[in-house]
């Protein structure tokens, strides 16, 4: 992308606010749920819904980690959208978790407890989700003021754990090693690794 195109893009970003992302962002979830209810997602609509919500959450998480390298390396500044993307990622992760608890396990707590304490991919998924909770709660200006920017930033570095764990959760739930989840893990690790590389240079 030439400098002028980048400048033009950054100009556009200045005029487009972040709030429509919330509205546009939840539409796919609503549409997917509607498709699942009306039995249009194949023979196993539950797994299709559960999987797709999880995959979208993972993609959005990776998108939040892309904002900084895009700015550093390509001078594209999308930082004003990061909060919205992060909160959407949490929304999809929550939807994924609720689908598991409600439609998959059907609130069968003894089985859920066994899953959460015994099965590595579920343990990892739960840790990844729990680490997102404080980030979602503090994704607002008030929290940044209350915590102070430095503490807030430290807290939000939890993302560097959340993303690889979410991708690992995807890798491990497959019965065999499969390319797609491994690619997510690779990209996630690369983006986190970039932070450490950048810090060492600074």
């Amino acid at each position: 992308m030439s400098m002028t195109q980048t400048q033009r893009l950054n100009q556009v970003v200045k005029t487009v606010s972040a709030w429509p992302i919330y509205i546009v962002g939840v539409l796919p979830a609503a549409w997917l749920f509607y498709q699942a209810v009306s039995n249009n997602l194949g023979a196993d609509p539950l797994k299709a819904l559960e999987h797709q919500l999880g995959e979208w959450a993972l993609q959005l998480l990776i998108a939040t980690l892309l904002i900084t390298p895009l700015r550093d390396l390509f001078k594209i500044n999308l930082i004003k959208y990061r909060r919205a993307i992060g909160l959407l990622a949490f929304f999809y992760a929550l939807g994924h978790l609720l689908t598991y608890l409600w439609l998959d396990q059907q609130w069968w707590w003894s089985a859920i407890w066994k899953d959460i304490t015994k099965r590595p991919y579920i343990i990892i998924g739960v840790i990844s989700f729990l680490a997102m909770v404080p980030l979602a709660i503090t994704s607002n200006n008030l929290s940044i003021r209350k915590l102070g920017p430095l503490t807030w930033r430290k807290l939000h570095q939890l993302t560097y754990i959340v993303v690889p764990l979410a991708a690992l959760h995807f890798v491990l739930l497959k019965k065999t090693w499969q390319l797609e989840p491994i690619l997510y893990l690779g990209v996630g690790l690369l983006l986190v690794g970039y932070r450490f590389w950048r810090k060492r240079l600074a």
């Binding site: 023979a43 196993d44 539950l46 069968w108 019965k175 065999t176």
Partner: protein, 303 residues
């Protein structure tokens, strides 16, 4: 013996659905085998289960057949290229009548019967399928096992040019499975050549597959080309891949969890988003018929 019509075993809704599919298939012939293959003449059998038969369109679109891809829809998308005619099965090892037999050869002496069996996948989902076929014991008796034979080994076709999943795969193809001889001779153990009143669709293991209803689905090996009687326990594919997850026996057992899933309950496929989980039964509900095969065995170690 009475002839059984498809409508006799199928809930009306499913039957009507089938007619809808036929209409659809007539309108568009480009679809892979979701429409109907050759109908088969079958007789009714004593084997049936309580509970609803899984809608046919679920059973022929939701498949684990890694030779055609690891996604549940991949077999439907890719298996239509498989050549199933001509087909022959090599029967050998510790038998007195070894040989390679064409499919017609195998079928000419057997009576095809319909058996409605529960089908339980190790991934904790389940179906109820009206299979068509015959007891494996009929085939084995013709092969005449020698006294030293203790196990039966099965092998799936290896034909990467028609089975895209076999290309560049780390999976140790061809897929192999095995049974103890007494398991293989149990009347429940069947060779299926059809389901839902017709020939097996390719994605379900055409032209002939094993069905062992008290074991997890991956034991029911598809598209068989080789059957070998042995005196030693044969290797089995999933066990070779992860022996801590998949044992040789792999009997359905709600008390022994898979490391990744609880096996205490199962989700019936075909019931939609809100289908209720149902408790999984010991030996998938076939304890009366098969529990004695394992008397004295620790099913936790011999999982």
């Amino acid at each position: 013996m009475t002839k059984l019509n498809y409508s006799d075993v199928t809930p009306k809704g499913v039957f009507l659905n089938r007619r809808k599919i036929i209409a659809g298939a007539l309108a568009s012939t480009a679809l892979p085998q979701i429409g109907f293959a050759k109908p088969l003449d079958v007789v009714k059998s004593e084997y049936t289960v309580d509970g609803e038969i899984t809608p046919r369109d679920a059973a022929v679109t939701y498949n684990n057949f890694y030779e055609f891809g690891t996604g549940k829809g991949d077999p439907l998308a890719n298996a239509h290229t498989l050549t199933t005619d001509p087909w022959s099965v090599e029967i050998g090892g510790l038998v007195n009548n070894a040989g390679t037999f064409g499919l017609d050869d195998i079928l000419k002496d057997v009576t095809l019967e319909e058996r409605i069996y529960r089908f339980r996948c190790v991934e904790a989902w389940s179906m109820v399928v009206p299979w068509i076929g015959f007891s494996l014991s009929e085939l084995l008796k013709k092969a005449d096992p020698q006294s030293g034979a203790k196990y039966v080994a099965f092998e799936t076709l290896y034909r990467p040019e028609e089975m895209p999943g076999q290309k560049n795969s780390r999976f140790p193809y061809p897929y192999v499975e095995g049974l103890r001889l007494d398991e293989a001779m149990n009347p429940l153990t069947m060779i299926a050549t059809g389901m839902y009143g017709e020939e097996l669709p390719n994605q379900n293991g055409a032209p002939l597959r094993l069905v062992v209803p008290w074991k997890y689905g991956f034991k029911s090996i598809k598209s068989i080309v080789k059957i070998t009687l042995t005196d030693e326990q044969p290797p089995t594919t999933w066990n070779l891949i992860a022996d801590n997850e998949y044992g040789f026996y792999s009997n359905v057992n709600p008390e022994v969890d898979h490391p990744r899933w609880s096996q205490a309950s199962e989700r019936p496929i075909g019931g939609g988003l809100f289908a209720k989980r149902i408790p999984t039964l010991m030996f998938n509900g076939y304890a009366d018929e098969v529990a004695s095969l394992y008397s004295g065995m620790d099913l936790r170690t011999n999982f």
